[in-house]
Symmetry: C3
Subunit: 155 residues, 3 copies
Protein backbone atom coordinates (compact mmCIF):
# COMPACT_ATOMS: atom_id res chain seq x y z
CA UNK A 1 0.00 0.00 0.00
CA UNK A 2 1.35 3.38 -0.97
CA UNK A 3 1.31 5.91 1.82
CA UNK A 4 1.22 9.62 1.13
CA UNK A 5 4.24 10.71 3.14
CA UNK A 6 3.55 14.37 2.37
CA UNK A 7 0.11 14.14 3.99
CA UNK A 8 1.65 12.61 7.11
CA UNK A 9 4.23 15.39 7.31
CA UNK A 10 1.56 18.03 6.71
CA UNK A 11 -0.37 16.71 9.68
CA UNK A 12 2.66 16.56 11.97
CA UNK A 13 3.74 20.05 10.91
CA UNK A 14 0.26 21.38 11.70
CA UNK A 15 0.22 19.51 15.00
CA UNK A 16 3.39 21.11 16.35
CA UNK A 17 2.85 24.51 14.78
CA UNK A 18 -0.70 24.98 16.06
CA UNK A 19 0.32 23.94 19.58
CA UNK A 20 3.21 26.40 19.61
CA UNK A 21 0.92 29.19 18.39
CA UNK A 22 -1.58 28.32 21.14
CA UNK A 23 -4.27 27.81 18.51
CA UNK A 24 -5.89 24.98 20.42
CA UNK A 25 -9.24 24.90 18.61
CA UNK A 26 -7.54 24.27 15.29
CA UNK A 27 -5.26 21.76 16.99
CA UNK A 28 -8.32 19.89 18.30
CA UNK A 29 -9.70 19.77 14.76
CA UNK A 30 -6.74 17.56 13.77
CA UNK A 31 -8.29 14.75 15.84
CA UNK A 32 -11.04 12.44 14.62
CA UNK A 33 -14.44 12.66 16.33
CA UNK A 34 -13.67 9.39 18.11
CA UNK A 35 -10.12 9.68 19.36
CA UNK A 36 -7.73 8.77 22.10
CA UNK A 37 -4.80 10.82 23.37
CA UNK A 38 -2.44 9.59 26.03
CA UNK A 39 0.93 10.51 27.50
CA UNK A 40 2.90 7.62 28.97
CA UNK A 41 6.49 7.47 30.23
CA UNK A 42 8.47 5.05 28.12
CA UNK A 43 9.54 3.09 31.17
CA UNK A 44 5.95 2.34 32.16
CA UNK A 45 5.07 1.44 28.60
CA UNK A 46 7.98 -0.96 28.21
CA UNK A 47 7.03 -2.71 31.45
CA UNK A 48 3.39 -2.99 30.38
CA UNK A 49 2.24 -0.70 33.20
CA UNK A 50 -1.01 0.97 32.33
CA UNK A 51 -0.28 4.21 34.19
CA UNK A 52 -0.67 7.22 31.90
CA UNK A 53 0.26 10.77 32.89
CA UNK A 54 -2.60 11.95 30.73
CA UNK A 55 -5.38 9.85 29.22
CA UNK A 56 -8.23 11.29 27.19
CA UNK A 57 -10.25 8.62 25.48
CA UNK A 58 -12.97 10.84 24.14
CA UNK A 59 -12.80 14.05 22.17
CA UNK A 60 -14.74 15.74 24.97
CA UNK A 61 -12.07 14.84 27.52
CA UNK A 62 -9.40 16.24 25.23
CA UNK A 63 -11.29 19.51 24.83
CA UNK A 64 -11.73 19.68 28.57
CA UNK A 65 -8.04 19.09 29.11
CA UNK A 66 -7.10 21.86 26.72
CA UNK A 67 -9.49 24.24 28.50
CA UNK A 68 -7.70 23.48 31.80
CA UNK A 69 -4.32 24.13 30.18
CA UNK A 70 -5.48 27.48 28.88
CA UNK A 71 -6.54 28.46 32.37
CA UNK A 72 -3.27 27.23 33.93
CA UNK A 73 -1.19 29.04 31.33
CA UNK A 74 -2.49 32.39 32.50
CA UNK A 75 -0.22 31.91 35.50
CA UNK A 76 2.62 30.04 33.84
CA UNK A 77 3.44 32.14 30.82
CA UNK A 78 5.89 30.56 28.44
CA UNK A 79 6.58 29.78 24.80
CA UNK A 80 6.71 26.20 23.56
CA UNK A 81 8.64 25.00 20.57
CA UNK A 82 8.00 21.55 19.14
CA UNK A 83 10.64 20.02 16.91
CA UNK A 84 9.25 16.92 15.24
CA UNK A 85 11.70 14.71 13.37
CA UNK A 86 11.21 12.67 10.23
CA UNK A 87 8.34 10.21 10.70
CA UNK A 88 8.40 6.46 10.06
CA UNK A 89 5.43 4.78 8.45
CA UNK A 90 4.94 1.69 10.58
CA UNK A 91 1.69 0.33 9.19
CA UNK A 92 -0.95 0.91 6.52
CA UNK A 93 -4.39 -0.48 5.92
CA UNK A 94 -7.16 0.94 3.72
CA UNK A 95 -8.27 4.14 5.44
CA UNK A 96 -5.67 3.90 8.20
CA UNK A 97 -1.98 4.64 8.61
CA UNK A 98 0.27 4.04 11.58
CA UNK A 99 3.28 6.24 12.10
CA UNK A 100 5.98 7.12 14.59
CA UNK A 101 7.85 10.39 14.93
CA UNK A 102 10.46 11.54 17.45
CA UNK A 103 10.05 14.94 19.05
CA UNK A 104 11.77 17.43 21.32
CA UNK A 105 9.88 20.24 23.07
CA UNK A 106 11.67 23.36 24.26
CA UNK A 107 10.16 25.84 26.67
CA UNK A 108 11.11 29.49 27.07
CA UNK A 109 10.07 31.20 30.32
CA UNK A 110 9.31 34.82 31.02
CA UNK A 111 12.94 35.53 31.90
CA UNK A 112 13.79 34.51 28.36
CA UNK A 113 15.55 31.29 29.30
CA UNK A 114 15.04 28.36 26.93
CA UNK A 115 15.22 24.80 28.27
CA UNK A 116 14.71 21.36 26.84
CA UNK A 117 11.34 20.35 28.27
CA UNK A 118 10.82 16.82 27.00
CA UNK A 119 11.87 14.31 24.38
CA UNK A 120 10.01 11.26 23.21
CA UNK A 121 8.17 9.66 20.37
CA UNK A 122 4.68 9.91 18.96
CA UNK A 123 2.95 6.69 17.99
CA UNK A 124 -0.10 7.68 15.96
CA UNK A 125 -2.96 5.88 14.26
CA UNK A 126 -4.29 8.14 11.51
CA UNK A 127 -7.55 7.94 9.58
CA UNK A 128 -7.98 9.17 6.06
CA UNK A 129 -10.77 11.73 5.67
CA UNK A 130 -10.89 12.63 2.00
CA UNK A 131 -7.48 14.07 1.17
CA UNK A 132 -6.75 14.83 4.81
CA UNK A 133 -5.58 12.68 7.67
CA UNK A 134 -7.04 12.86 11.16
CA UNK A 135 -5.60 11.56 14.40
CA UNK A 136 -7.60 8.60 15.66
CA UNK A 137 -5.12 7.70 18.36
CA UNK A 138 -2.03 9.46 19.65
CA UNK A 139 0.29 7.87 22.16
CA UNK A 140 2.97 10.25 23.41
CA UNK A 141 5.80 8.12 24.78
CA UNK A 142 7.96 10.29 27.02
CA UNK A 143 11.62 9.44 27.52
CA UNK A 144 11.33 10.30 31.20
CA UNK A 145 8.67 10.29 33.88
CA UNK A 146 10.43 13.25 35.51
CA UNK A 147 8.79 16.00 33.49
CA UNK A 148 8.62 19.26 35.40
CA UNK A 149 5.30 21.11 35.49
CA UNK A 150 3.88 18.56 33.11
CA UNK A 151 0.36 19.81 33.17
CA UNK A 152 1.28 23.16 31.74
CA UNK A 153 2.08 22.11 28.18
CA UNK A 154 0.35 19.87 25.69
CA UNK A 155 2.73 17.47 24.02
CA UNK B 1 -3.57 24.92 -5.03
CA UNK B 2 -1.18 22.03 -4.80
CA UNK B 3 2.09 22.90 -3.15
CA UNK B 4 5.25 20.96 -3.84
CA UNK B 5 6.21 20.02 -0.31
CA UNK B 6 9.43 18.40 -1.50
CA UNK B 7 10.61 21.71 -3.03
CA UNK B 8 9.91 23.49 0.25
CA UNK B 9 11.89 20.88 2.19
CA UNK B 10 14.72 21.02 -0.34
CA UNK B 11 14.99 24.76 0.21
CA UNK B 12 14.92 24.49 4.01
CA UNK B 13 17.46 21.67 3.95
CA UNK B 14 19.77 23.79 1.80
CA UNK B 15 19.22 26.81 4.02
CA UNK B 16 20.36 25.12 7.21
CA UNK B 17 23.05 22.97 5.62
CA UNK B 18 24.78 25.80 3.76
CA UNK B 19 24.80 27.98 6.89
CA UNK B 20 26.35 25.20 8.97
CA UNK B 21 29.01 24.63 6.31
CA UNK B 22 29.76 28.37 6.28
CA UNK B 23 29.02 28.45 2.53
CA UNK B 24 27.50 31.91 2.72
CA UNK B 25 27.64 32.79 -0.99
CA UNK B 26 25.52 29.77 -1.86
CA UNK B 27 23.27 30.56 1.08
CA UNK B 28 22.75 34.09 -0.27
CA UNK B 29 21.76 32.61 -3.62
CA UNK B 30 18.71 31.04 -1.95
CA UNK B 31 17.25 34.55 -1.62
CA UNK B 32 15.40 36.38 -4.38
CA UNK B 33 17.00 39.53 -5.83
CA UNK B 34 14.45 41.61 -3.93
CA UNK B 35 14.28 40.16 -0.44
CA UNK B 36 13.81 40.92 3.19
CA UNK B 37 15.41 39.12 6.14
CA UNK B 38 14.64 39.99 9.73
CA UNK B 39 15.17 38.52 13.19
CA UNK B 40 12.56 39.52 15.76
CA UNK B 41 11.98 38.21 19.31
CA UNK B 42 8.57 36.57 19.52
CA UNK B 43 7.59 38.80 22.43
CA UNK B 44 8.10 41.99 20.42
CA UNK B 45 6.29 40.51 17.45
CA UNK B 46 3.27 39.45 19.49
CA UNK B 47 3.00 42.95 20.99
CA UNK B 48 3.26 44.58 17.57
CA UNK B 49 6.59 46.22 18.47
CA UNK B 50 8.61 46.93 15.34
CA UNK B 51 12.02 46.39 16.96
CA UNK B 52 14.06 43.83 15.03
CA UNK B 53 17.39 42.46 16.21
CA UNK B 54 18.41 42.26 12.57
CA UNK B 55 16.67 43.83 9.59
CA UNK B 56 17.96 43.59 6.04
CA UNK B 57 15.43 44.79 3.52
CA UNK B 58 17.65 44.63 0.48
CA UNK B 59 19.84 41.87 -0.83
CA UNK B 60 22.81 44.25 -0.54
CA UNK B 61 22.21 44.72 3.19
CA UNK B 62 22.05 40.96 3.64
CA UNK B 63 25.35 40.48 1.80
CA UNK B 64 26.89 43.20 3.92
CA UNK B 65 25.65 41.53 7.07
CA UNK B 66 27.14 38.21 6.08
CA UNK B 67 30.47 39.88 5.34
CA UNK B 68 30.50 41.32 8.87
CA UNK B 69 29.71 37.90 10.33
CA UNK B 70 32.59 36.35 8.45
CA UNK B 71 34.93 38.91 9.92
CA UNK B 72 33.56 38.49 13.45
CA UNK B 73 33.81 34.70 13.21
CA UNK B 74 37.57 34.89 12.84
CA UNK B 75 37.59 35.71 16.55
CA UNK B 76 34.63 33.62 17.67
CA UNK B 77 35.33 30.23 16.22
CA UNK B 78 32.48 27.79 16.59
CA UNK B 79 30.37 25.24 14.76
CA UNK B 80 26.66 25.82 14.21
CA UNK B 81 24.08 23.11 13.75
CA UNK B 82 20.62 23.98 12.49
CA UNK B 83 17.83 21.50 13.09
CA UNK B 84 14.79 22.50 11.10
CA UNK B 85 11.54 20.69 11.83
CA UNK B 86 8.72 19.70 9.49
CA UNK B 87 7.34 22.80 7.74
CA UNK B 88 3.70 23.88 7.56
CA UNK B 89 2.35 25.33 4.34
CA UNK B 90 0.39 28.36 5.52
CA UNK B 91 -0.54 29.97 2.21
CA UNK B 92 -0.28 29.53 -1.55
CA UNK B 93 -0.93 31.83 -4.48
CA UNK B 94 0.28 31.45 -8.08
CA UNK B 95 4.03 31.98 -7.92
CA UNK B 96 4.13 32.33 -4.13
CA UNK B 97 4.06 30.03 -1.11
CA UNK B 98 3.99 30.91 2.55
CA UNK B 99 5.45 28.49 5.06
CA UNK B 100 6.43 28.15 8.67
CA UNK B 101 9.07 25.87 10.15
CA UNK B 102 10.35 25.48 13.72
CA UNK B 103 14.09 25.40 14.29
CA UNK B 104 16.72 24.86 16.96
CA UNK B 105 20.32 26.02 16.55
CA UNK B 106 23.13 24.43 18.53
CA UNK B 107 26.57 25.93 18.87
CA UNK B 108 29.80 24.10 19.67
CA UNK B 109 32.71 26.20 20.94
CA UNK B 110 36.44 25.63 20.67
CA UNK B 111 36.48 23.71 23.94
CA UNK B 112 34.12 21.26 22.31
CA UNK B 113 31.11 22.13 24.40
CA UNK B 114 27.77 22.09 22.59
CA UNK B 115 24.94 24.34 23.77
CA UNK B 116 21.46 25.13 22.61
CA UNK B 117 21.85 28.57 21.07
CA UNK B 118 18.34 29.51 20.01
CA UNK B 119 14.91 28.14 19.18
CA UNK B 120 12.17 29.77 17.18
CA UNK B 121 10.19 29.64 14.00
CA UNK B 122 10.79 30.71 10.43
CA UNK B 123 7.95 32.47 8.64
CA UNK B 124 8.89 32.57 4.97
CA UNK B 125 7.36 33.91 1.80
CA UNK B 126 8.79 31.94 -1.12
CA UNK B 127 8.74 32.72 -4.83
CA UNK B 128 8.75 30.11 -7.52
CA UNK B 129 11.60 30.50 -9.99
CA UNK B 130 11.19 27.71 -12.58
CA UNK B 131 11.41 24.48 -10.59
CA UNK B 132 13.19 26.15 -7.68
CA UNK B 133 11.92 28.24 -4.83
CA UNK B 134 13.62 31.42 -3.66
CA UNK B 135 13.20 33.27 -0.38
CA UNK B 136 11.43 36.57 -0.92
CA UNK B 137 10.94 37.25 2.77
CA UNK B 138 12.22 35.50 5.85
CA UNK B 139 11.08 36.43 9.33
CA UNK B 140 13.03 34.63 12.05
CA UNK B 141 10.89 34.70 15.17
CA UNK B 142 13.08 33.98 18.17
CA UNK B 143 11.60 32.44 21.29
CA UNK B 144 13.71 34.74 23.45
CA UNK B 145 15.26 38.19 23.21
CA UNK B 146 18.07 36.98 25.48
CA UNK B 147 20.27 35.44 22.79
CA UNK B 148 23.93 35.48 23.77
CA UNK B 149 26.40 36.83 21.23
CA UNK B 150 23.62 37.07 18.71
CA UNK B 151 25.63 38.79 16.05
CA UNK B 152 27.99 35.88 15.67
CA UNK B 153 25.64 33.44 13.97
CA UNK B 154 23.16 33.74 11.14
CA UNK B 155 19.85 32.16 11.94
CA UNK C 1 18.23 13.40 -12.22
CA UNK C 2 15.08 13.28 -10.14
CA UNK C 3 15.64 12.03 -6.63
CA UNK C 4 12.88 10.44 -4.61
CA UNK C 5 13.01 12.64 -1.54
CA UNK C 6 10.35 10.53 0.17
CA UNK C 7 12.53 7.40 -0.08
CA UNK C 8 15.46 9.29 1.47
CA UNK C 9 13.29 10.48 4.34
CA UNK C 10 11.85 6.98 4.82
CA UNK C 11 15.38 5.63 5.21
CA UNK C 12 16.45 8.34 7.66
CA UNK C 13 13.26 7.93 9.66
CA UNK C 14 13.88 4.18 9.89
CA UNK C 15 17.52 4.75 10.78
CA UNK C 16 16.80 6.91 13.82
CA UNK C 17 13.67 5.08 14.90
CA UNK C 18 15.18 1.60 14.86
CA UNK C 19 18.23 2.79 16.82
CA UNK C 20 16.04 4.40 19.48
CA UNK C 21 13.98 1.21 19.77
CA UNK C 22 17.17 -0.82 20.14
CA UNK C 23 16.15 -2.93 17.14
CA UNK C 24 19.71 -3.31 15.94
CA UNK C 25 19.22 -6.24 13.57
CA UNK C 26 16.69 -4.29 11.55
CA UNK C 27 18.94 -1.25 11.75
CA UNK C 28 21.81 -3.30 10.31
CA UNK C 29 19.55 -4.35 7.43
CA UNK C 30 19.44 -0.71 6.30
CA UNK C 31 23.08 -1.06 5.25
CA UNK C 32 24.24 -2.54 1.95
CA UNK C 33 26.22 -5.80 2.04
CA UNK C 34 29.38 -3.82 1.29
CA UNK C 35 29.30 -0.77 3.50
CA UNK C 36 31.35 1.64 5.51
CA UNK C 37 30.34 3.40 8.73
CA UNK C 38 32.55 5.92 10.46
CA UNK C 39 32.27 8.54 13.20
CA UNK C 40 34.67 11.45 12.88
CA UNK C 41 34.84 14.73 14.83
CA UNK C 42 34.24 17.64 12.48
CA UNK C 43 37.50 19.29 13.53
CA UNK C 44 39.59 16.30 12.44
CA UNK C 45 37.66 16.03 9.20
CA UNK C 46 38.13 19.68 8.31
CA UNK C 47 41.87 19.38 8.93
CA UNK C 48 42.12 16.25 6.81
CA UNK C 49 43.10 14.14 9.81
CA UNK C 50 42.22 10.51 9.25
CA UNK C 51 41.46 9.74 12.90
CA UNK C 52 37.99 8.24 13.31
CA UNK C 53 36.34 7.57 16.67
CA UNK C 54 34.67 4.58 15.07
CA UNK C 55 35.48 2.99 11.73
CA UNK C 56 33.76 -0.09 10.38
CA UNK C 57 34.58 -0.73 6.77
CA UNK C 58 32.87 -4.05 6.45
CA UNK C 59 29.40 -5.14 7.39
CA UNK C 60 30.93 -7.73 9.69
CA UNK C 61 32.77 -5.06 11.66
CA UNK C 62 29.56 -3.09 12.01
CA UNK C 63 27.70 -6.15 13.32
CA UNK C 64 30.53 -6.79 15.74
CA UNK C 65 30.40 -3.22 16.96
CA UNK C 66 26.68 -3.40 17.58
CA UNK C 67 27.14 -6.63 19.52
CA UNK C 68 29.66 -4.87 21.79
CA UNK C 69 27.25 -1.98 22.32
CA UNK C 70 24.50 -4.37 23.34
CA UNK C 71 26.77 -5.87 25.92
CA UNK C 72 27.92 -2.48 27.23
CA UNK C 73 24.35 -1.23 27.45
CA UNK C 74 23.50 -3.86 30.03
CA UNK C 75 25.50 -1.71 32.43
CA UNK C 76 24.71 1.73 31.04
CA UNK C 77 20.96 1.72 30.77
CA UNK C 78 19.54 4.70 28.97
CA UNK C 79 17.10 5.82 26.30
CA UNK C 80 18.33 7.47 23.11
CA UNK C 81 16.33 9.86 21.01
CA UNK C 82 17.52 10.78 17.53
CA UNK C 83 16.13 13.92 15.95
CA UNK C 84 17.10 14.02 12.29
CA UNK C 85 16.48 17.26 10.42
CA UNK C 86 15.47 17.81 6.81
CA UNK C 87 18.02 16.20 4.48
CA UNK C 88 19.82 17.84 1.56
CA UNK C 89 20.33 15.91 -1.64
CA UNK C 90 23.96 16.63 -2.48
CA UNK C 91 24.53 14.31 -5.43
CA UNK C 92 22.78 11.82 -7.67
CA UNK C 93 24.01 9.27 -10.19
CA UNK C 94 22.16 6.27 -11.62
CA UNK C 95 21.78 3.86 -8.70
CA UNK C 96 23.36 6.20 -6.17
CA UNK C 97 22.34 9.24 -4.15
CA UNK C 98 24.41 11.39 -1.83
CA UNK C 99 22.71 13.18 1.01
CA UNK C 100 23.40 15.15 4.15
CA UNK C 101 21.21 15.48 7.21
CA UNK C 102 21.76 17.25 10.52
CA UNK C 103 21.00 15.39 13.72
CA UNK C 104 20.78 15.80 17.48
CA UNK C 105 20.83 12.85 19.88
CA UNK C 106 19.38 13.12 23.38
CA UNK C 107 20.03 10.62 26.12
CA UNK C 108 17.89 9.95 29.16
CA UNK C 109 19.53 8.18 32.08
CA UNK C 110 18.03 5.94 34.74
CA UNK C 111 17.39 8.92 37.02
CA UNK C 112 15.15 10.26 34.26
CA UNK C 113 17.39 13.16 33.35
CA UNK C 114 17.52 14.00 29.64
CA UNK C 115 20.64 15.58 28.17
CA UNK C 116 21.81 16.61 24.75
CA UNK C 117 24.32 13.90 23.87
CA UNK C 118 25.66 14.95 20.48
CA UNK C 119 24.95 17.06 17.42
CA UNK C 120 26.39 16.69 13.96
CA UNK C 121 25.67 15.83 10.40
CA UNK C 122 25.30 12.60 8.46
CA UNK C 123 26.96 12.41 5.06
CA UNK C 124 25.56 9.33 3.36
CA UNK C 125 26.05 7.56 0.07
CA UNK C 126 22.93 5.53 -0.68
CA UNK C 127 22.37 2.75 -3.19
CA UNK C 128 19.08 2.03 -4.82
CA UNK C 129 17.89 -1.55 -4.32
CA UNK C 130 14.58 -1.86 -6.18
CA UNK C 131 12.28 0.69 -4.58
CA UNK C 132 14.37 0.85 -1.41
CA UNK C 133 17.55 2.68 -0.58
CA UNK C 134 20.43 1.09 1.31
CA UNK C 135 23.33 2.79 3.07
CA UNK C 136 26.57 2.13 1.22
CA UNK C 137 28.56 4.64 3.23
CA UNK C 138 27.72 6.65 6.31
CA UNK C 139 30.03 9.32 7.67
CA UNK C 140 28.86 10.69 11.02
CA UNK C 141 30.52 14.08 11.45
CA UNK C 142 30.36 15.04 15.11
CA UNK C 143 30.37 18.70 16.12
CA UNK C 144 32.68 17.90 19.01
CA UNK C 145 35.35 15.36 19.86
CA UNK C 146 34.36 15.68 23.51
CA UNK C 147 31.53 13.16 23.48
CA UNK C 148 31.02 11.56 26.87
CA UNK C 149 30.78 7.78 27.01
CA UNK C 150 30.84 7.70 23.25
CA UNK C 151 31.01 3.98 22.94
CA UNK C 152 27.68 3.45 24.59
CA UNK C 153 25.42 4.76 21.84
CA UNK C 154 25.32 4.24 18.10
CA UNK C 155 24.94 7.47 16.21
Amino acid sequence: MTVDRAAVEDLLGEYGGLLDHGRYDEWLSLFAAACRYSVVPRENYDQGLPVALILCDTRFMLEDRIMALREANKYNIHIDRHLIGLPRITGARPGEIEIEAPFAVYQTDQEGETRLFATGIYQDRLHTAGERLLIAEKLVLLDTAAVPTLLATPL
